[in-house]
């Protein structure tokens, strides 16, 4: 059942991601992306990464995407107009590049991964729960953690500065 669930989530994730990129209305893109992230959270749960899954919903869906939603709503972004002019020509070689990239990615990565998986890996219990992640965060990753806190503070100040009309 988990396997089936995984493929379901994966399909929904890919589908909503494609929808984000391909449809013209930014509002739909945001909603689709929230939905996609919810599915990604589901995959995280299936991969026993409960904490990350919860964070995915809490931070990505609940905070980051709300911000996107606000911006789209407040700026009243109109759906894209069809392309005109010079830029039009770029589409072809952009497309070629993306196809090439995906082809190479799918050509290399699964093979490489299969090489890795041929070596059996050790397994620890309960890797996904908050306690384990928290322990790693506050011991081996303490400094990055503090730096991340600092980064957020800086971002906070920077955002206030940027968003204020007049300082």
């Amino acid at each position: 059942m988990t396997t089936a669930l995984f493929y379901l989530f994966a399909a929904l994730l890919i589908g909503s991601a494609l929808f984000v990129v391909l449809n013209r209305n930014p509002m739909y893109s945001v909603v689709a992306l929230v939905f996609g992230f919810a599915n990604l959270a589901g995959i995280y749960f299936l991969l026993e990464a409960y904490f990350i899954g919860a964070l995915q919903v809490l931070v990505y869906a609940g905070a980051i995407m709300v911000l996107f939603l606000f911006v789209v709503m407040l700026l009243d972004v109109k759906p894209d107009k069809p392309r005109r002019g010079l830029v039009h020509l770029d589409r072809w070689w952009f497309a070629i590049l993306v196809v090439l990239f995906l082809g190479l990615l799918l050509g290399i990565v699964p093979g490489a991964v299969r090489l890795i998986t041929s070596v059996p890996a050790g397994h620890e219990a309960d890797i996904g729960n908050v306690e384990r992640v928290g322990q790693a965060l506050f011991t081996s990753y303490l400094l990055p953690f503090e730096v991340a806190a600092l980064l957020l503070t800086v971002a906070l100040i920077g955002t206030v500065f940027l968003a204020k009309r007049k300082i």
């Binding site: 990129v21 991969l47 990505y60 980051i64 990615l105 990565v109």
Partner: protein
């Protein structure tokens, strides 16, 4: 977990490519930004998959940091987009080229 690791990674690759697609083809700055988020999440997925496979927690810690970074990045990035929009009345990146010439 019954799903083979390389399937998950393939899905992550696909997701990443979709993000690239969005960055290359969309002109709306916000959508481009969202495509970048998709790319970040594709990498996160790979991290979690490997973390699950190797049975240790480090991959998830990385995802944690990516999320922190993404939060900071989105906050600042969207603030920039807002001030751009305020000044140029557009969020179409093909029309934002003041630094050209």
């Amino acid at each position: 977990m019954v799903v083979p690791l390389h399937h998950i990674i393939a899905i992550a690759s696909l997701l990443f490519s979709i993000g690239v697609l969005g960055v290359l083809f969309r002109r709306n700055a916000i959508i481009v930004f969202m495509s970048i988020e998709i790319m970040l999440n594709a990498v996160n997925l790979a991290f979690v998959a490997f973390s699950n496979y190797h049975g240790n927690v480090h991959g998830q810690v990385f995802v944690f940091f990516t999320m922190t970074l993404a939060a900071a990045e989105v906050a600042v990035g969207l603030a920039i987009i807002i001030s751009l929009f305020r000044n140029l009345q557009t969020s179409d990146i093909t029309e934002i080229h003041n630094l050209k010439n």
